[in-house]
Amino acid sequence: MPTEKRVPKLTAAPGFRTLFIPLFRDPLALIGLILVALIVFSAVLAPHIVPYDPNKLNVHYRLQAPSGDHLLGTDQLGRDVFSRTIMGSRIALKVALISISIASALGLLLGLLAGYGPKWLDNLLIVFFDTVRSFPTVMFALAVVTLLGPSLETVILIVIVTSIPVYARMVRTQAQSMKNNEFILAERAMGAGTPRILWFHMLPNVVGPLLIIASMDIPVVVTIEAGLSFLGLGVRPPTPSWGTILNDGYSFIRNTPWLVIAGGAPLILTTLGFTFLGEALRDIFDPKLRKVM
């Protein structure tokens, strides 16, 4: 068994300096970085930093405006909105992490199969991808919720199913363009089998763009979860999700604007943050991806 030589990267992986310096120069990227850090910290440390138990009822103090005690006021059941907002970040990132990981893994697999495998398989998979993407996302989500009942798991399933075609298509394009790359042809001429080629050569070059696309998908996933929860079809109460906070706020919009602000603001900050950061990273690593996303 010959010792493995280092696989030459077909796309350049930027080092520390090429990554961080342009990142710090771009004001939008910096803002994104700060916001993302904020959200991630709040999600990770949530149980430790919430001033109150997010589910603790205190009906006497319902619908209060923000004050020293309650930074964002209280909701219709007297629960501290600020605490609920912080806990909400946990749900948002949890859904994003789980669904995007699974979807990218599956998308990677299917994409490699489609791009590198036989033509009939490619055609089959393409038709499958196009079909899933032909459903308007919310319609599809509502259909699945109708069949499976609303829950966090259902949301995750929906996100996975609708994300796979996008990732798979991207991986497929990369795999296709590399399939006929001279380096790969040389390897095959030397007798390298498909699994080896896929693992050592295709994979390293495909993973990079996939990671970028996946991270740019985070705001989309957070939005889907919040949207479904807003409709009451996602996370089940009393779990605090930004969507459910928004829903509460919407019901009581004429009583107090603060619930709506509290539910919407973190959503806006999260989506903006991840988008700014994601775009900056994409522009650094592989500006050609602009065409895909």
């Binding site: 599809f140 259909a143 109708t146 919040a226 903006l272 988008t275």
Partner: protein, 314 residues
């Protein structure tokens, strides 16, 4: 051109067939008997029997699928459990409201997005260009239902400039327009940014191409070069994008209709989901999916009409 047309429509038809089959299969994959799934817990025995007969539940799956298809093609999307009216009629009654909303949203976002993108490309790195850039990224990121709720809060509840609820008085155009403003704003806002960015990028790319240099070398007026030559090419990705955009806007419209309590497919399907009115849910999904496929197909055909090179590719 005709060959491309046929091929593209053929592809669309295949996708529709598979999509509808997927929906049908999904119904059957759910645990429990399909009748209860389709009709929900409120189904009376009579309804169940009638449906069983129509669907031919004792027959093999493949036959059921074909029957389902034939029914759909005939326009039979089932019966609404509650009102016992045809689902197809119910859905098509509500569709126009949603279409109006989407058309308004697309119109204003294109009307604002294309000129912004064009200007940004021509006056690169100007103040307006940079501003448009930030605005674009910002609005693309923010979810449309958040925009909907916030604009409801600000313009309807707090400032009371615009109405909060409904579609306006029947027959009163002004009232209806008034009620369209905020929902169309919510649905279209993200798209202004998307379109502006796309047009800007396409324009810059096209303006850098050799044939534009040739056009200038032939002394063609700059206006002519930008609008007839560059923009015509740069618009292509936008046209294709709009096809997909309609599907996205459908999602946005669902939320807008719910937030602003407007009639339309969104409200219809939402109410149906809550009340477990499966036939209406399925019927709505089928109709909107077919609509979506039609829109993307038309968008691709328009793009092929504009760029002869695309026709060679399918």
């Amino acid at each position: 051109m005709w060959i491309y047309l046929l091929k593209r429509i053929g592809l669309a038809a295949i996708i529709v067939v598979i999509a509808v089959s997927m929906l049908f299969t999904m119904i059957h994959m759910v645990p429990g008997d399909p009748l209860s799934v389709l009709l929900g817990p409120r189904a009376t025995p009579e309804l169940k029997a009638a449906l069983a007969e129509r669907m031919g539940l004792d027959k093999p799956f493949a036959v059921q699928l074909v029957t389902f298809f034939l029914n759909v093609l005939r326009g039979d999307l089932g019966i609404d459990v509650f009102s016992e009216r045809s689902v197809a009629i119910i859905v098509f009654e509500q569709l126009p409201f949603t279409m109006v909303l989407i058309i308004f949203a697309i119109t204003w976002s294109v009307a604002l997005g294309i000129p912004l993108g064009c200007y940004s490309a021509i006056h690169r790195n100007s103040f307006l260009d940079k501003l448009t850039g930030i605005f674009s990224v910002g609005t693309i990121a923010v979810p449309s239902f958040v925009v909907a709720i916030y604009s409801l809060l600000i313009f309807a509840v707090a400032l009371k400039w615009l109405p909060a609820i409904g579609a306006g008085k029947e027959g009163n155009l002004l009232s209806q327009l008034e009620h369209l403003v905020l929902p169309a704003l919510a649905v279209g806002l993200g798209w202004v940014g998307y379109i502006a960015r796309l047009v800007r990028a396409s324009m810059l790319e096209v303006l850098g191409e050799n044939h534009i240099r040739t056009a200038r070398a032939f002394g063609l007026p700059e206006r002519s070069i930008i609008y007839s030559y560059a923009l015509r090419l740069a618009i292509l990705p936008t046209v294709a994008l709009l096809g997909v955009g309609i599907g996205n806007m459908l999602s946005g419209a669902v939320f807008a209709e719910i937030v602003f309590a407007r009639p339309g497919i969104g409200k219809l399907i939402y109410d149906a989901v809550i009340t477990r009115n499966y036939p209406v849910v399925m019927g709505s999904v089928i109709v909107t999916t077919v609509l979506f496929v039609i829109c993307t197909t038309i968008a691709d055909l328009v793009a092929a009409a504009l760029d002869p090179r695309i026709r060679e590719n399918l």
